[in-house]
Symmetry: C2
Subunit: 154 residues, 2 copies
């Protein structure tokens, strides 16, 4: 197909090492993008989640983001103070909070979206659309659910 050099790197290159090397950098760039509004990357993540789902229980958000409860509290405090999200008690169970994104939150989240898109354009500048789609497909099938108990054997 293309005349691309198949292996620019030396032969041994573990995929894991590639991920360790590039992953750190990609992560950095992505977190910068997530924090584009002066938010922390976590606040950005939470905002994106809320933008997707509109509203959800604090519990659900917590599990989706994989955060400690106490951490999420701080995140939501900040988002709420900035007027990007709101908490209100669930009338059906007053222990629970329902977290909802505000209009300002949606605006902020779309700014984050754009910043993410820009980083992607930058990171994946050498890939065409089809390849980016391919990459997305492959990555989405990576097993990141720790529900498999027998995974740390050597």
């Amino acid at each position: 197909m293309r005349d691309m050099a198949e292996d620019v790197h030396s032969g041994t290159d573990r995929l894991g090492l590639l991920l360790a090397r590039h992953g750190v950098i990609m992560n950095l760039r992505i977190r910068e993008a997530l924090g584009v509004n002066g938010l922390t990357s976590r606040q950005g993540m939470a905002l994106m989640h809320l933008a997707e789902t509109g509203r959800m229980s604090q519990q659900a958000l917590l599990e989706a983001l994989g955060l400690d409860p106490s951490v999420l509290v701080a995140v939501l405090n900040d988002l709420e103070r900035e007027g990007l999200a709101e908490r209100r008690r669930d009338p059906a169970d007053r222990r629970r909070h329902i977290v909802e994104i505000t209009a300002a939150g949606r605006r902020a989240s779309s700014v984050v979206e754009d910043a993410l898109a820009a980083v992607e354009r930058d990171l994946f500048a050498d890939l065409d659309d089809e390849q980016v789609a391919q990459l997305r497909g492959l990555l989405s099938r990576v097993r990141t659910t720790p529900d498999d108990p027998a995974c740390t054997e050597a």
Copy 2:
């Protein structure tokens, strides 16, 4: 019951978000693997680098790993104390250190290799060999070199 919790991944999924989500987890697993000998993930990284190149100047290692000089010093101190690497002054320029991996270091590095391979097998269990190769190819073409000034134009 938690009816909103389960289904999380869907529609909009930015590739960047995928990376932010999965990347953190992949990174965690990989770093666990890198630290399999009781080393820190950084020591593991350094060891892998040394195993690839055999020996290199401390300066070169520093740039390859993207570390602050002071950080590398600590890493090498530990590796040397464990007998996994050795520093000696470069006779051609006595300011410089030449870092060389030891036999024990090679053994340790191959343990890291195996652990990495295991993590990969686990993470990419749902991909066949061809797809893993594809993923490696795509990832290796991600732009992670920030030294290119003309890459952030849009």
